[in-house]
C-alpha cells in the first residue's frame, strides 16, 4: 500500500468535516475522491497534502507517518500536488517554474543548469516546450494546469494529488489530460484526484471513494459506485413517487 489512511478526523468549529475515514491506495492506482460540495473530499485532500493538521487518525505514505510533516517534507518524501485554482510562479519563466521542482523534491538536480535541462524534458512531456522562455503568468488556463503537472512531476514524486484537474477545461482538453494521466501511471506514478467531472472520472479512475458529510458511503469501481443507490440519492436526490 502506497498510502494508508486510518481513522482520519477533522473538525472546523461545529462542523465535523471528516469522520473516521479509512483509505487504501496501492501503487500505480488512479484513485478518485468524489462527493458533493461540503462532503469533505477537499479537506481529506488537504490533510494528505499537509495543508491542514489532522485532529485524529493516521496518514501513512510508504509506511512513514505523515501527520506532523509540513508540505515541504512531504514533497521530499514523494508526495506532490496541484491546486484547484491554478497557482504559478507568475514572474518566473515556464522553464524556471519546473526547474524549481527539479532543485527541491525527492532527488534534486545537481545544478541550476542541470535542473533547467531536465525541466525542458518535462515541458516536452506536457506539451509546453514552445512556451519555455515565457513568463508563466502569460499562459492560458489549460497551459497553466499542464505547467502545474510538470512542476509537480519535477519533484520526482511517487504520489500525485490532483485537485479538480479537469475544472474549466473543454472536452478536447479533458481528453488530453486523461491521456497524460494514463501515461504518468504507466511511468510508475500513483494518482489521487478530487473531481466533479463524472465522464473524466469514469475514463480515468481505477477505483473511487464517494464521500458525504465527511463519511465514506461507497467505494469501488467508478461504474459501481456511481450506480450505488445511496450515491445516486446524494447526487441526484430521492427518486420521486
Amino acid at each position: 500500500m502506497l498510502l494508508q489512511v486510518r481513522g482520519l478526523c477533522k473538525r472546523f468549529g461545529g462542523v465535523q468535516a471528516v469522520r473516521d475515514l479509512d483509505l487504501d491506495v496501492g501503487e500505480r492506482e488512479i484513485f478518485g475522491l468524489l462527493g458533493p460540495n461540503g462532503s469533505g473530499k477537499t479537506t481529506v485532500f488537504n490533510l494528505v497534502a499537509g495543508v491542514l493538521p489532522a485532529d485524529a487518525g493516521e496518514i501513512r505514505f510508504r509506511g512513514v507517518l505523515l501527520n506532523a510533516l509540513p508540505p515541504h517534507r512531504r514533497a521530499a518524501l514523494g508526495v506532490a500536488r496541484t491546486f484547484q485554482l491554478v497557482r504559478s510562479l507568475a514572474r518566473m519563466t515556464v522553464t524556471d517554474n519546473v526547474a524549481v521542482g527539479r532543485l527541491y523534491g525527492t532527488s534534486p538536480a545537481r545544478s541550476v543548469d542541470g535542473a533547467r535541462r531536465e525541466a525542458a524534458q518535462l515541458l516536452d512531456l506536457v506539451g509546453l516546450a514552445d512556451k519555455a522562455g515565457l513568463p508563466a503568468g502569460s499562459l492560458n488556463l489549460a497551459e497553466r494546469r499542464r505547467l502545474e503537472v510538470a512542476r509537480a512531476l519535477a519533484t520526482r514524486p511517487r504520489l500525485l494529488l490532483l485537485d479538480e484537474p479537469f475544472a474549466g477545461l473543454n472536452a478536447d482538453e479533458v481528453e488530453a489530460e486523461v491521456r497524460l494521466f494514463h501515461r504518468l501511471r504507466e511511468e510508475g506514478l500513483t494518482l489521487i484526484l478530487v473531481e466533479h467531472n463524472v465522464p473524466a472520472v469514469r475514463a480515468l479512475c481505477d477505483r473511487v471513494a464517494f464521500l458525504n458529510s465527511g463519511e465514506k458511503i461507497a467505494e469501488g469501481r467508478p461504474d459501481d459506485v456511481l450506480s450505488h443507490p445511496r450515491v445516486v440519492e446524494v447526487y441526484l436526490g430521492r427518486p420521486g413517487g
Binding site: 515541504h72 514533497a75 506532490a80 497557482r87 510562479l89 507568475a90 527541491y104 523534491g105 545544478s111 509537480a152
Partner: protein
C-alpha cells in the same frame, strides 16, 4: 551588465582617489555605502519577497559594535566582522518570531522593533561619540574608501551569486507564491531566515564602515529609519530584484539629492516622493529596465507610411 563596462567601472572605482579630489572621494564613499545598504535590503525584499522596514536596526547595531570595539583598541577588520556578526545575531532575534508573520505584519513588526531599538539607544547612550585624539591624528580617508568599495563589491557579488544559485531560485519561488514553493519542497521558513541573516550581516558591515568613517558619530542617527527608506527608494528606483538595480539606484539617488538639496533644501524630499511614484507606476522594473521599456515603446509605435 556587459563585462567590459563592469571592468571599466571597477577600474574607475579603484582609481578614483588618484584622479579626483577628496570631496569626490567622499561622495564616492557615500554612494558605495548606500550600495551596500541597498543590496542588503534588495536580497531579502527583491529576491525573497519579504519587506523588512526595520533594516536600519542592522545598520545601527553594526555601527555601534564596530565603533565601540575599534575605539577600544580592537583592529578595525575584527571590529567590522564583529559588527556584522552582531547584526546577524540581531537578525536571528528579529527573524525567528517575525518570519512566521505573513505579508504586511512582517513589515510592521520589523519597523516597530527597529524603532524600539533606536529609542533605547537614544535614551541610554550619550548623544555623540567623538574620537580620541590619537585616532583623529591617525585618520586617513583612503583606507576607508577602499573598505567601503570592497563591501560594495562583496554585497553585489553576494546578490549575483544568490540570483543564480539553487537557494536563489527557492527564494524567488517563495516570493512569487510561498504555498507553491512549499509544495515543491522548499523549506520557506529556513530560506527566509537565511536571506534575513545574510541581509543583516551585510547591512551590519555597512553600519560598521559608517562607524569607522565618521569622526563624530551620533549613535541614534545610525538607527534612523532614513537608512531603511533611502535603501527602499534606491532599490525601487534602480530595479528591485535585480543585481545592478541597487547600485544604479544608489548612484542616481545620491547624485540627484546632491543636485537638488542645494537648491531646494527641504523640498527635495517632495521631489523624491514624486520620482518614486512615477517610477513605481511607469517604470516598475526600475532604471535597469529603461532600455527595455524604450525598446518596447518604440516597437509598438506605428511606422510611418
Amino acid at each position: 551588465m556587459r563585462p567590459a563596462l563592469l571592468v571599466a567601472l571597477a577600474v574607475l572605482a579603484c582609481a578614483l582617489p588618484w584622479v579626483a579630489g577628496e570631496a569626490v572621494v567622499n561622495w564616492g564613499l557615500l554612494v558605495l555605502l548606500q550600495v551596500v545598504v541597498a543590496q542588503s535590503w534588495n536580497l531579502l525584499a527583491g529576491y525573497g519577497g519579504q519587506v523588512n522596514l526595520g533594516h536600519a536596526a542592522f545598520f545601527g547595531i553594526g555601527a555601534l559594535v564596530t565603533r565601540s570595539l575599534w575605539m577600544g583598541g580592537v583592529p578595525v577588520a575584527a571590529a567590522l566582522a564583529a559588527g556584522a556578526v552582531a547584526a546577524a545575531v540581531a537578525g536571528l532575534g528579529i527573524g525567528l518570531p517575525s518570519l512566521r508573520l505573513r505579508g504586511p505584519y512582517f513589515a510592521i513588526g520589523t519597523l516597530a522593533m527597529s524603532e524600539i531599538l533606536r529609542i533605547v539607544v537614544a535614551t541610554t547612550l550619550p548623544e555623540v561619540s567623538a574620537l580620541p585624539a590619537d585616532l583623529i591624528a591617525g585618520y586617513r580617508l583612503l583606507p576607508r574608501y577602499y573598505l567601503v568599495l570592497a563591501l560594495a563589491a562583496v554585497s553585489t557579488g553576494t546578490v549575483w551569486l544568490v540570483a543564480r544559485s539553487r537557494f536563489g531560485m527557492g527564494l524567488v519561488a517563495i516570493r512569487e507564491d510561498e504555498w507553491v514553493a512549499e509544495t515543491v519542497g522548499v523549506d520557506s521558513y529556513r530560506h527566509k531566515l537565511a536571506a534575513l541573516l545574510v541581509s543583516a550581516a551585510l547591512a551590519g558591515g555597512a553600519g560598521g564602515a559608517f562607524g569607522y568613517y565618521h569622526l563624530s558619530f551620533y549613535p541614534q542617527f545610525a538607527f534612523s529609519p532614513v537608512w531603511t527608506f533611502d535603501a527602499v527608494l534606491m532599490v525601487f528606483l534602480g530595479g528591485i530584484g535585480t543585481v545592478w538595480g541597487p547600485p544604479i539606484g544608489a548612484a542616481f539617488f545620491v547624485l540627484l539629492r546632491e543636485a537638488l538639496a542645494l537648491r531646494l533644501t527641504e523640498l527635495h524630499v517632495l521631489v523624491f516622493g514624486a520620482v518614486f511614484v512615477v517610477v513605481v507606476l511607469a517604470l516598475p522594473g526600475g532604471l535597469v529596465d529603461l532600455l527595455g521599456v524604450l525598446r518596447r515603446v518604440r516597437g509598438s509605435r506605428p511606422q510611418p507610411a
